[in-house]
């Protein structure tokens, strides 16, 4: 039938539209960063000056800043999100409380990033400043560490929900078998659950890392915005995302703008790679 043919064509072209959209996004980023790509080439990734006045651009401080914040936030996240997944899927038997806790945790993920940033800037940063003063570190408050802390608040719900899903895939017979042999719940979790679902949990952490990598607003508000390599984890820094957020509308020269878009391109490529890898791992586990 004619209508049916048209209908099928519409559906399939929906699929093609996605191919076009993704390619268009990638190509737009490449073409718009062409003057920076031509001017600096691969050196862009190894130069640490970022000087819009003298038109010297290099990505090193921001790559380091991004890696540092995402790694630290992941380190903070791991024990918490693992605990949540284990507690909700294995230990908590009360379904009502479990549902409630889960909703509360998911609500954290629902808070807009800019509001988490606002809280970080006006409430958390002063507290950290006080602690720094007491410890004898230069009291700044904002910086790599504060940003990592904020980031971990934002990615804990995300990795916890993936972890919970992966843990729930372990067949109940295996657990029952171990318990009937006299294993304690701790031994079941440590000896069976975690090792069997390790791959999935790892995939989940990879995806969370990818998310921390590209998170922008909250980080921009608390990282201190210093375009240099951070001296310690308490000093102000800049991530690739926060740099773009801070400088994009102020970029007057073509080279500056195209360097910022190239940073966006790097961010795009790395996030896409992390994401695909994470999802491939998780898909293999869930099927």
């Amino acid at each position: 039938m004619k209508v049916d043919r048209v209908f099928k064509i519409i559906l399939i072209s929906g699929g093609f539209l996605m191919v076009i959209l993704l390619s268009a996004i990638f190509l737009s980023l490449v073409f718009s960063s062409i003057s920076s790509l031509k001017e600096y080439g691969i050196r862009f990734l190894f130069t640490k000056e970022w000087d819009p006045v003298n038109l010297k651009f290099g990505a090193v401080p921001f790559i380091i800043g991004t890696l540092l914040t995402s790694f630290i936030s992941l380190l903070i996240t791991i024990p918490f999100s693992l605990s949540i997944s284990i507690y909700l899927s294995e230990l908590l038997k009360n379904r009502t409380i479990s549902k409630l806790l889960q909703t509360l945790i998911e609500l954290i993920a629902g808070i807009p990033s800019v509001i988490v940033g606002l809280w970080g800037l006006f409430i958390l940063a002063p507290i950290i400043r006080n602690i720094q003063a007491k410890l004898g570190i230069q009291p700044i408050g904002v910086g790599i560490f504060t940003a990592s802390l904020i980031l971990s608040i934002m990615i804990i719900p995300y990795s916890a929900s993936i972890g919970k899903e992966v843990l729930s895939l372990v067949p109940i017979e295996v657990k029952e078998g171990a318990i009937s042999l006299g294993a304690t719940e701790f031994e079941v979790i440590k000896g069976i659950l975690i090792p069997t679902s390790f791959k999935g949990i790892f995939g989940g952490f990879l995806l969370s890392f990818g998310r921390a990598f590209g998170e922008t607003m909250a980080v921009t508000m608390v990282i201190g915005n210093a375009n240099r390599i951070p001296k310690s984890i308490f000093s102000p820094g800049q991530t690739m995302a926060s740099l773009i957020a801070n400088e994009f509308t102020e970029a007057t020269s073509i080279l500056h703008l195209s360097s910022l878009i190239e940073i966006g391109l790097i961010l795009f490529i790395i996030s896409v790679l992390i994401n695909i890898l994470g999802r491939v791992i998780i898909r293999k586990v869930t099927f």
Partner: protein
């Protein structure tokens, strides 16, 4: 006490410590939710009033003024984003569930995962390159397009998931009765999954309603009430960011008040979506 008893006791104690530890860490994890809502509320409620919601911003440094323009702007920009995103999302979702077995749909699935993983700030750059640059000025529509791209994967995935849950028999029955394929999809599959798809749309909207990064260099902001989608338009998240990072105490306070409004809007859409989700999943 013999040795075996000792070992068993140790194991039990280890088990207990572990459980305590896991429980405590779980409860610590939800503390930030309350801390954020608590502090934003106590700092914002004093400045929240009907006047704040219904009046326009005052010039820099002057006391008073509200965010009426940003509230209207948020709804316009998100509304247009939804109008762009919903039909495309549903089409692609139907495509994925109807053509599950094909290689091409596998590729499309990976692309959608990829799309979801793109940092929001990069989507903002895309909005700038595609719309702002050719038009040579910031505009609400460029923000809507950026937000639509962010909303798309959420709608596609929920549509696909719901349609996959429609019992095969219903479809087969309809086809056996001689119904044309398009009618089966439009009159049977989509109505069957309506609540689920609608849930996906709500969750998508609550997600993009609070997005700021894609709007920084697309919709930008505007101190005045603007209804023209080809001009810069203010949004609540954008106002929060600009006010929070300004040097004015008055604006800081307004950022907190605006945050209360945004939290209420975002979390209530989110909760409605979740409530609906529970209904159809049962």
């Amino acid at each position: 006490m013999n040795k075996l008893d000792y070992i068993n006791k140790k194991r039990v104690i280890k088990d207990k410590i572990f459980k305590k530890f896991v429980t405590i860490l779980t409860f610590i994890s939800i503390i930030p939710l309350f801390l954020i809502i608590y502090f934003v509320s106590i700092r914002g409620f004093r400045y929240l009033s009907l006047r704040f919601i219904t009046s326009l911003p005052k010039p820099m440094g002057e006391a008073g003024g509200g965010i009426f323009n940003a509230i209207i702007g948020s709804f316009i920009i998100v509304g247009i984003a939804a109008l762009i995103s919903i039909p495309i999302g549903i089409i692609v979702g139907v495509f994925l569930s109807e053509y599950k077995e094909t290689k091409f749909s596998e590729v499309v699935k990976i692309l959608i995962d990829t799309l979801q993983g793109i940092p929001s700030i990069v989507i903002g750059i895309i909005g700038y390159i595609w719309i702002v640059k050719p038009l040579k000025h910031f505009s609400a529509i460029s923000g809507s397009i950026a937000l639509a791209i962010m909303m798309l994967p959420i709608i596609i995935k929920s549509t696909e998931e719901i349609l996959n849950m429609v019992p095969q028999e219903i479809k087969e029955g309809a086809i056996a009765l001689g119904a044309p394929y398009y009618r089966v999809v439009l009159k049977i599959l989509l109505p069957y999954g309506f609540v689920g798809i609608f849930t996906g749309i709500l969750l998508g909207i609550s997600r993009i309603m609070g997005e700021t990064a894609p709007l920084l260099f697309t919709a930008f902001g505007n101190q005045f009430l603007n209804l023209n989608i080809f001009k810069p338009m203010s949004t609540i998240p954008y106002v929060i960011f600009v006010y929070a990072t300004s040097p004015y105490k008055e604006w800081h306070n307004q950022a907190f008040a605006a945050s209360i409004i945004l939290i209420i809007i975002v979390l209530s859409i989110n909760l409605i979506g979740r409530a609906l989700e529970k209904k159809w999943k049962m």
